[in-house]
Amino acid sequence: MSRPGLLSVADLGREGIVELLHLADSFAQVAARPIPKVPALRGRTVATVFYESSTRTRLSFETAAKRLSADTMTFTAQTSSVTKGESLRDTVETLDAMGVDAMVVRHASAGVPARVAGWVRAAVVNGGDGEHEHPTQALADCFTLREALARRGGGQPADDLKGLRVAIVGDVRHSRVARSDVLALGALGAEVVLVGPPTLLPPSTEGWGVAVAHDLDEVLGEVDVVYLLRIQAERLREAFVPSLEEYTERFGLTRARARRLPEELLVMHPGPMVRGVEIDAEVAGSARSLVTSQVRSGVAVRMAVLFRLLARAEERAGG
């Protein structure tokens, strides 16, 4: 049997999320030290197993592992024996046999981390699988939001996001970030509305606990946070949208649209951003944007995830 891992936000529940956010609070403070490193996972090895190119997520996990003093290994499909036809299962079993303690798995197909977890002894962390989930991004988003709200309120970060109204805008259908965020934000009590043309929303939101809207301008006055998703040019070919121009006109956070918004409305984006399409460059860099904070939070929550999965019980008690 494999160790516990992190495959879906659904596995965590509210308590699991809050526990990780608390851990991330302390690890965020580590980042502020002159030497941002703790010996918590010395001797443990974390492998990033990436079958899909991603600089940000991989570097974020590796930074997190290194700040915990874990050894890291990098496997990317472009440089590996995958090109020689080695199967996914052979590859991860080989890594497992080398004694890796955790594998962060990213793959263009939904469900690969879950399958890998059934094959290896190492703890498996979902680093983004197809259009399924990206749990650590959702944790980073929750961490970012509660920090931003605490800054605004002047107190300690709260353990929930009750009453917070979040619009997730754009290509929800093809977004693993959106699926994880819906679960995490919902678990913490936020109200979520998905906004986009029906072609870019999931065929069914049964059981999601969200509202659905098709007019961004109607929603914008009603929410506290706008979370924009990337729109990919290939959606045109598949006839999900007629043109990027029309998409931007209807669902992009353009400068004109941003000007009409209340000052306290927050803007988020998981990156990489396509400036000028789903978000205007100036808006992305404005004071209301939490994009940089999301990246920073990513390292802290990934430290929390790795620590929780790999630290021995006595270390967790002391940590």
Partner: protein, 467 residues
Amino acid sequence: MAEARLPTVVLRGGTVVGADRAERGDVLVEGGRIVAIGPGIEVPRGSSVLDAGGCLVGPGLVDLHAHLREPGHEEAETIETGSRAAALGGYSAVVAMANTDPPIDHPAAVRAVAELAKGALVEVAVAGAITKGRAGERLAPLAEMAALGVRIFSDDGRGVQHAGLMRRALEYARPLGVLLAQHCEDEDLVAGGVMHEGAWSSRLGLPGQPALAEESMLARDLDLVRLTGAPMHFLHLSTARSVELVRRARAEGLPVTAEATPHHLTLTDAEVAGFDPLYRVNPPLRPAADVAAVRAGLLDGTIDAVATDHAPHAPDTKELPFDQAPPGMIGLETALSVAYGALCLGPEDDVPGWLRAVAEPDAPSPRRSQAPPVPRLAGAVELFRLMSSRPAAISGLDARGGHGGPLAPGARGHLCVFDPGERWRVDPGAGASRSANTPFASRELVGRVRHVLVAGEPVVVGGEAQR
């Protein structure tokens, strides 16, 4: 097989399943044929006695839909291994689908496969492709293949996409006395979907294919049957609306027949939640309301037959990510047990938990069938009608080969002895199929095939293949 070497066999103490009733009795088989049926048959000297106590003794099963993979994918299955799996599953005959590599779309391919099938444990009827290369563009030489005995034509694995071509195929086939069988799947609507489009696909982030992808081609083809008057068979119906469309077409008197698979009777799209490609299949597993509607369709006679769609794939292909793995499940060795559990056992029976869960869906689905909500259960007669006599009649294996019963003196000795009392757990590694991609792995099934006679030869005795 030389009839001289055939043993005299007495199947003793079972319940003989006839065309309209089941009665206690023995069956004496001699020289490849049934010579006597009745209680307390005297055992002739030198005959072997097979215990059928507590068992149903019915005609050998007939599968309208098996992929035996030879030629082209012998790593997944061969006619030898596939027909052994069929025998162990209670079959005396199977229709081998045409999507081999190369496909069975010309007379030489028909002859080659028929030659390979000569030594098989069960009778293997060869299906031909409707179009050249199964490409859906030009007609395959239907008449030449029909002259070699091909009775069923299908591009199965794909549907014939173009309505105009399908019309021509039906018109051309009508005087040939053959049957065209459609795999209903509008590829434009499928649009890369790898599972049923609905709550589960949305949650899992897997591209879904709408039920409409099946239903719209079925609706189109029913109209083409009305237009051309040619008979047509519909493979693996899987949605409530498909069942309803066929129900109405039959009420109208259109010459259509249909089949459903054991997996669409028992498994839902919720199985995909673990991303195990064992559960990738076309048509995809559907929600519980569709499963219930397919069962109801079999019980009320809308759907004629249970057919396996036995689709072996080598193990490494089922270790691919879900969306890259080839669709298909094996089913020959489990079909009768699964169908028995799904169709013959009711709430008061001791049904394994996994079967009960599907039978009693907790959430009503918005896509409701017009079918009666609580179907009656099938008895032994209905079970063997769905798995033997109707598929034998549809495939022509009744007239040619004497499959499908009814069991009577003079009939060919194709017999399936099924013990409904035996419970067993499916071990995918233990089967005769060269592949192990069964969705019923580790599940408990009720009822197991004990003995099988094909043309009088005991090919399975005590659950063991004899060669």
